[in-house]
């Protein structure tokens, strides 16, 4: 049996779901849309097993966003994957009126329903006295008082689910054919839906994607015939339901006790204050940023060290040969490349989950909305953009809280422009190469200023591109913001923990697969090449070595360099050289660019291999080698000022991160967006780097 969990946002629906299912959850997705489906198994006392489905939060079945459309579809379409046999409506007892709107809609669909009244403690704080028995009899529905935070009511809810489908159907509250006469009957016949209210819901929602085009045009005619405007019909229904709910609440809910005001009003005076509010927000940001950068670095080092040791161990234990090398230099570093992001993702999502749980996040949206809107984004875009300064992967995942699809997509598309931590090693080495470490204004280091300039550049490019995307993208939903500002609450460790587990799991499983395969492919391409070419190169070096009396170390490094030059990736680097020459790059930089597509920080390692330095950790030696290298074509230094600047611009703008592409694909559920993003970012990088090089050279 399938039971759907339905309720307004901020009613503690997900807390209740976590209470009932624990770690027994499966996150999937609905086909064709960007909405996650969450299901969990629970066992009832009588031995029955049922699947609990956590549908997205909604205020009404008249959907206005993709998330809400899923709820309506799940409840009205019997062939839908998660169409339930019964529904549990979770309501906030302290805001019963608004919560009962959705409840009466679900009742009218004819489902067996259990009503859960969550947050009973808040209701009594507001001085509300709810006659539960009276409401139960009135609606002919079992009602379970619940406290999702403390887990009170779990037993009672499970008990009421045992017999839920056996209950008789209650009378309908809003009867479409009574209010709208023959239109409702005609529409019902046209759509071929049994339930009168289900067909009504479909009939007045014209953008519903489940209605076939032919039926849709007939429906439009029918609406015209009856002189009906869907929006007006929805308004009429909503007002009629609220009138009914008012009557019911007058009978069964009374205000008795004194209203004890919580701290919310006082906290809001501080947190949404015109000046103080922003200061606090930026302080929280600084803390988050600090945490992601510095707290994560220790576990990240540990993970890298562990995998480096693992590689050495594998080399030692396995017989020498391609298998050992593939595992030690391809598979294990690839795995490390995935897992090394876990500390950052964990810390970032811990902060985000805390901000969401406490109710603070809606205050951030409130504060930042107007400034973000000027760039075609949304107040909710702030968190992803700032997370992007750590790593675009968790940042793109954090856009899910943006409920307007166009604004969410814009945010996803521009987030990778923010300077992520993987760009930092590349910036550091290039700046050190060409920018002198002189003092500006007596105390500012020029190198530091250039680095800061690159961070600002990333942010400016993000908001500028956002302006461009928001003009170009089409949206069927008109953007608006009507958001509940929930009362401040203490966060629950259980919910924060489960959020982190879910995010990390989905990152490792889906983005991980792609990162892993790309790094394996890169390894193969860098280690294999046409045999004859390689042998010739080796012979040449050996001859030169004996002729010029090279030291064994020198021979070894020359061999490594020749290996790379004649590998498939080296040949590829030479092949693309004509394309990147206008930017000032030679084939060696070309190889670094290509291998950087696995992850930007690979640049330093690739440079090290290319300059055949046996110790890639010794940055000063790479730097010296890079500094001394002469480009035989121009006769100038390979890393001249112009080349380095052009490279900095390229790394700031180009989409060079497989993991981000993977995660954008996952979040948009389409290849067209990551491809568009790739072309836009890399194209922009090419053009600007070209200009920079041509002007500076």
């Amino acid at each position: 049996m399938k039971v759907a969990l339905v309720g307004n946002p901020n009613t503690g629906k997900t807390s209740l779901f976590n209470r009932l299912t624990g770690l027994n959850q499966k996150v999937g997705n609905y086909q064709g849309v960007t909405v996650d489906s969450k299901a969990g198994q629970i066992r009832l006392e009588n031995g029955d097993k049922l699947t609990l489905i956590d549908l997205p939060g909604t205020y009404s079945l008249h959907a206005t966003s993709l998330d809400e459309e899923i709820v309506t579809e799940a409840l009205t379409n019997p062939s839908f994957k998660d169409h339930p046999d019964a529904v549990v409506v979770v309501a906030d007892a302290a805001n019963l009126k608004r919560n009962l709107l959705l409840f009466t809609q679900v009742l009218d669909l004819g489902f067996p329903v259990v009503l859960v009244l969550n947050m009973m403690d808040e209701a009594s704080k507001k001085g509300l006295d709810i006659d539960i028995k009276g409401l139960e009899d009135h609606f002919n529905v079992p009602i379970v008082p619940f406290n999702a935070r403390k887990g009170k009511g779990v037993k009672e809810l499970k008990k009421s689910l045992e017999a839920v489908t056996k209950r008789s159907k209650s009378a309908s509250i809003f009867d479409p054919s009574e209010e709208f006469g023959s239109f409702a009957d005609d529409a019902s016949r046209l759509l071929g839906v049994d339930s009168a209210y289900a067909s009504w819901l479909l009939a007045v929602s014209l953008h519903n994607r489940t209605i076939p085009e032919s039926t849709r045009s007939k429906l439009k005619l029918l609406l015209k015939e009856h002189d009906l405007i869907p929006r007006r019909a929805q308004v009429k229904e909503t007002i009629s339901r609220y009138r009914y709910i008012d009557e019911v609440l007058n009978r069964f809910v009374s205000k008795t006790g004194e209203i004890t005001k919580g701290n919310t009003d006082l906290l809001d005076k501080i947190f949404t204050h015109k000046i103080l509010g922003f200061l606090i927000f930026f302080a929280i940001l600084a803390l988050t940023f600090q945490a992601v950068f510095s707290w994560a670095s220790w576990p990240m080092d540990m993970i890298e060290l562990f995998f480096a040791n693992l590689s050495t161990w594998v080399i030692d234990i396995l017989p020498q040969g391609p298998l050992a090398e593939l595992i030690a230099d391809g598979l294990i570093p690839g795995l490390a490349g995935v897992l090394v992001f876990i500390p950052q993702i964990t810390i970032l999502f811990a902060f985000i989950a805390l901000l969401e749980e406490t109710g603070y996040m809606s205050r951030v949206v409130f504060l930042m909305d107007s400034s973000m809107r000027k760039f075609g984004m949304n107040g909710r875009s702030v968190v992803p953009l700032l997370s992007g300064m750590a790593c675009a992967i968790p940042a793109v995942m954090a856009t899910r809280s943006i409920n307007n699809w166009k604004e969410r997509l814009t945010t996803i598309l521009v987030t990778p422009f923010m300077t992520c931590s993987a760009r930092l090693p590349v910036y550091t080495i290039l700046i050190a190469l060409v920018v002198p470490s002189t003092k500006v204004l007596g105390f500012l280091n020029l190198q530091g200023l250039v680095l800061m300039g690159l961070y600002v550049f990333g942010f400016v490019m993000a908001v500028t591109s956002s302006l461009v995307f928001s003009r170009v993208l089409k949206s069927s939903h008109k953007g608006y913001l009507i958001m509940e500002m929930p009362t401040y609450k203490l966060p629950q460790g259980r919910n924060v923990g489960l959020t982190i587990v879910e995010k990390v799991k989905s990152f490792v499983m889906s983005a991980g697969k792609i990162i892993l395969s790309i790094s394996m492919i890169l390894w193969v391409l860098a280690n294999y090449g046409p045999e004859e070419r390689r042998e010739n190169a080796i012979t040449e070096i050996q001859q030169a070595a004996t002729a010029e009396n090279w030291s064994p170390e020198e021979v070894e490094s020359k061999l490594a360099a020749a290996d790379l030059e004649n590998s498939y990736i080296g040949i590829f680097g030479k092949a693309i050289e004509p394309a990147i020459r206008p930017l000032g790059y030679d084939w060696k930089i070309g190889i670094a660019l290509i291998s950087s597509f696995a992850a930007r920080e690979v640049f330093v390692g690739t440079m090290a291999t290319i300059y055949a330095i046996s110790d890639p950790d010794n940055e000063s030696r790479i730097k010296d080698q890079m500094k001394a290298d002469i480009n035989p074509l121009t006769g100038d230094r390979t890393f001249s000022f112009a080349v380095a600047m052009s490279l900095l611009i390229f790394y700031a703008l180009a989409m060079q991160c497989m993991s981000t592409i993977a995660v954008v694909y996952r979040e948009t559920k389409s290849w067209s967006w990551p491809i568009l993003q790739f072309v836009f970012m890399t194209g922009l990088a090419y053009i600007l780097s070209f200009i920079v090089y041509q002007v500076l050279k």
Partner: protein, 86 residues
């Protein structure tokens, strides 16, 4: 006698209270009704974000944030402070 003033919710100043009279039904998202902005309800404007940002209001016992665009669809009558106390 209290002065009767009808205006749109977007014009209500911080700290003022108003009663919802009517809506501009043509352009208003139904969601506003669903979230409890109903005729006869009393609205308190608690805060207005800078740069022409959203309004923070209390209506029907809980808090909402909505943009000025949305608020302009709601027609309200200001309740003078003296009418509440009397």
């Amino acid at each position: 006698m209290p002065a009767e003033k009808t205006k749109s919710l977007s014009e209500v100043r911080k700290g003022e209270q108003a009663i919802i009279e009517a809506f501009d039904e043509e352009n208003m998202p139904v969601k506003m009704l669903e979230m409890g902005l109903l005729p006869g309800n009393i609205v308190t404007v608690k805060q207005i974000a800078i740069l022409n940002g959203p309004l923070h209001i209390e209506v029907g016992g809980y808090d909402l944030a909505l943009r000025k665009d949305e608020a302009s669809h709601v027609i309200v009558r200001i309740i003078e402070p003296n009418t509440i106390s009397s």
